[in-house]
């Protein structure tokens, strides 16, 4: 018997000694009873309820998406934006109902003017079957310039509130500027 065979047999013996008793533990038996066990009258009912809930959610999501405006990626223009012409706004946090001490009343928000989305250069356009999400964010204008957007800015520290169109891969495809605040107003009202 070679040295390798001897060592193999020793390892086999050690492994057999370390093998735990072959009785399924309580967690495994509970899993079995939950999945395959008989006498589970609630299982079918729960499955039916879950199916109804999933179907309801799917229908509502489908309807929401069907009514959402679809922005064709090919129609996204890339105009040069004069940032100075936009109305500067100070970015202040929304007053919380707790801080004001009374329940905040919802005022009807006037619809914002629909500015066009600007495509970020060198990004692949969305395919017709791809969905995009629009996320509103406060971002520095320098980041937009670094991304390749043709912006003319006098204040390099300015920030913009913008809608970002994000593709299914998580990359931003286009940007729509909502408002711009200069660096002074942002620093005083972070």
């Amino acid at each position: 018997m070679t040295k390798l065979e001897q060592a193999m047999r020793q390892l086999q013996a050690e492994a057999r000694a370390m093998t735990p008793p072959s009785e399924p533990n309580a967690a495994l038996l509970a899993e079995f009873a939950g999945v395959r066990g008989p006498g589970n009258p609630w299982k079918a009912q729960w499955l039916a309820v879950a199916a109804v809930v999933i179907a309801t959610i799917a229908v509502s999501v489908f309807r929401t998406r069907a009514h959402a405006p679809v922005i064709p990626p090919a129609a996204v223009p890339a105009p040069v934006v004069q940032v100075a012409a936009m109305q500067p706004t100070a970015m202040q946090p929304a007053p919380s109902p707790v801080a004001s001490g009374r329940k905040a009343r919802r005022k009807p928000v006037p619809p914002e003017p629909e500015a066009p989305f600007m495509q970020i250069p060198y990004t692949a356009p969305l395919a017709p079957w791809e969905h995009a999400e629009v996320v509103r964010a406060d971002i520095p204008l320098s980041a937009l310039i670094a991304a390749g957007l043709p912006l003319e800015v006098s204040d390099p520290g300015a920030r913009a509130r913008a809608d970002l169109m994000i593709g299914p891969d998580g990359r931003t495809r286009a940007v729509r500027l909502i408002s711009v605040s200069d660096s002074t107003s942002y620093r005083t009202n972070p």
């Binding site: 060592a7 072959s22 399924p24 495994l28 009873a33 395959r36 008989p38």
Partner: protein
């Protein structure tokens, strides 16, 4: 004829298990848990990890009992294949997030290797763990678990010839590793 009876018995057991018979599941567990555990133990050299993997395998079996096709092989080989997939998934998860301390310790251990005054079994265990996975699997199945080449081929989803060639290569590597006088092979850089 006894093997035929055994095979039919296993099929009946499996059918009862699929129909929700708890005793049948216990029977399958008793029959196959030791080999699943030992395979995981030899592949990981960690009894705790091997126990968790064995548990995962049988939980998976409870949920996917219909995936086993008796026409393609024995349940033991099928479960070995499932164990192999579980180990691969676990390893890829572990490789994604390695604690810094563990990474340092692992590197140190790898650099030092086993102690010089350890037994042949310890040296062999360290050498098996250091083998590339494709070699480690055939050594564990054929040499440590005593499976035939055919059973190993079913479990590893490869040809019998591949099992033979990998086993031959793995044995020669392990033999050299157990003889410190010979120049030591770099096990991680071995190719088929």
């Amino acid at each position: 004829m006894s093997w035929l009876t055994d095979r039919n018995g296993s099929r009946r057991l499996l059918e009862s298990f699929r129909n929700g018979d708890r005793e049948a599941f216990t029977g399958i567990y008793r029959e196959h848990h030791p080999s699943v555990f030992r395979f995981a133990l030899h592949m990981t050299a960690d009894p705790v990890k091997a126990g968790e993997v064995a548990q995962d395998v049988f939980v998976w079996l409870i949920h996917h009992a219909g995936d086993f096709d008796p026409a393609r092989g024995e349940l033991g080989a099928f479960l070995t294949g499932v164990t192999r997939k579980m180990l691969q998934r676990r390893r890829s998860d572990e490789q994604r997030w390695v604690p810094f301390d563990d990474a340092l310790l692992d590197g140190r251990q790898r650099a030092q290797g086993p102690e010089p005054d350890t037994s042949d079994a310890d040296r062999l265990r360290a050498a098996i763990i250091a083998l590339p996975e494709r070699y480690r699997e055939v050594v564990v199945l054929c040499d440590l678990e005593g499976k035939s080449y055919d059973e190993a081929a079913v479990a590893l989803d490869c040809a019998v010839g591949t099992v033979r060639s990998r086993l031959h290569r793995a044995r020669s590597l392990l033999t050299r590793k157990l003889q410190p006088d010979l120049p030591q092979p770099d096990l991680q850089s071995c190719e088929v």
